[in-house]
């Protein structure tokens, strides 16, 4: 017998009771060699900061491998690949990780280094899914099949700019320069 899936509901305003982890933002411990900080703001349609959002990221390790049994190339050791960070009053979030390597695409091609992102907030009845790419991967980004789904303006909303010690990107839920979100 087939059963239908359970609907999504909003994470609401009080999710920090249940979803806050002390080590949430740290894919790798602070100070790890090669660690980078990736962060930015979450902004609403009026350009105001969203102080009650949750950003979750999933990524490959620096060799482009996922810590998961379905990665056919074998699991890397000890790289969690996952981070979770709530936004502060100014809408800011930040994670500490290592930059992922390029990841295989289904057709034998390659995906540019990227993070998969789930965004949850009060006012979002379902999670929003997006990706974060890296501004210093110009050639890889130009050949990426997922970025290739978007026109240039929208593509730019997914690309984090290099800053001292890491990368910076704002996630805009609505309006001018609205982040491209995916249906997966």
């Amino acid at each position: 017998m087939s059963r239908e899936t359970t609907p999504s509901q909003t994470v609401g305003p009080f999710f920090t009771i249940g979803l806050l982890w002390e080590d949430g933002p740290f894919v790798v411990p602070d100070g790890t060699e090669g660690a980078v900080r990736i962060g930015g703001r979450v902004l609403d349609g009026a350009g105001d900061p969203v102080p009650d959002a949750l950003v979750e990221t999933w990524q490959a390790d620096p060799d482009g491998r996922y810590d998961h049994p379905d990665d056919p190339r074998g699991r890397p050791d000890g790289f969690r690949g996952f981070a979770r960070c709530t936004t502060a009053d100014d809408g800011r979030w930040q994670i500490v990780t290592r930059k992922p390597g390029p990841v295989p695409a289904a057709d034998g091609g390659t995906q540019a280094p990227h993070l998969a992102v789930s965004l949850f907030a009060r006012g979002l009845l379902n999670r929003l899914v997006t990706r974060i790419y890296f501004g210093d991967e110009v050639a890889a980004n130009a050949a990426d099949p997922v970025l290739g789904l978007l026109d240039q303006d929208r593509r730019d909303t997914l690309v984090a700019g290099p800053v001292e010690g890491g990368y910076e990107i704002d996630l805009r839920l609505q309006g001018a320069r609205e982040t491209a979100f995916f249906r997966i």
Partner: protein, 239 residues
């Protein structure tokens, strides 16, 4: 390089609320206005965090023993399975819950509802599903509470659930409700799910068999995650 990828997870958009819903005022400035871009699942979406080892203590599943005293309210057991549509269990997945106390007040600085906090109740629970996909929490029944969405708005009693599944594509955050709640009719969050049959899947069932006599009533609620788009024989181990 040719990769043998697992099958993609089947689309289940018909189960879910739309991202913009007039009745829920907070969506207005937060929902994307551009259409979502269809992305064929890649290795990134077909894998996902397998969390839990070292993150969960057995006592995390009992929300009534996390303080010196017992919380006030009606003690209940909430249990069920995390499965895929074909009934296959999602084993070893992290289930996280949070909820208001029995008076309808969250242990959160932004909750200004003038109902009492309970010093013996935080409202946080975690567990891993067992090999059969089962989870079980002991808690107190959360109270209904007012909010400012519309005149005289009240949320039906609910428990928030977060489940990872085994792939990024399966991630689900939702809310479990209690059977027969008189507040369903006026709640825009519950009613944001357009399909009435899908809405009913958010409501737990009273489970007399699982009650513990003289101690606690029980509610059962299964969580069904997206399943792979594949025939069963494609999914045998080693296939």
């Amino acid at each position: 390089m040719s990769l043998h990828l697992p099958p993609p997870y089947r689309d289940d958009a018909a189960s879910h609320p739309p991202i913009d819903f007039d009745g829920y005022a907070s969506t207005a400035r937060r929902y994307p206005r551009q259409p979502l871009v269809a992305l064929a699942q890649t290795l990134t979406e077909l894998t996902g965090p397998l969390l839990g080892d070292g993150r969960v203590q057995p006592s995390d599943a009992d929300l009534t023993i996390q303080h010196d005293g017992e919380p006030l309210g009606e003690r209940i057991i909430v249990h069920g399975r995390v499965i895929e549509p074909d009934g296959r269990p999602v084993a070893g997945t992290l289930v996280e819950v949070w909820q208001a106390n029995s008076a309808g007040r969250y242990f959160h600085e932004r909750d200004q509802h003038p109902a009492p906090l309970d010093p013996n109740f935080t409202g946080l629970g975690r567990c891993l599903t067992d090999g059969d996909g089962r989870y079980r929490f002991v808690t107190v029944k959360p109270g209904a509470y007012p909010w400012t969405n519309h005149h005289n708005a009240w949320r039906p009693a609910h428990i928030h659930f977060s489940v990872f599944g085994r792939a990024f594509a399966q991630r689900l955050v939702t809310q479990m409700y209690f059977p027969g709640d008189p507040l369903f009719g006026q709640d825009p969050i519950f009613n944001s799910v357009p399909d009435p049959a899908a809405r009913r899947r958010l409501v737990s069932q009273f489970d007399l068999e699982s009650t513990e006599p003289g101690w606690a009533l029980a509610y059962r609620w299964d969580i069904v995650l997206r399943g792979p788009d594949a025939t069963p024989q494609d999914r045998e181990p080693g296939a």
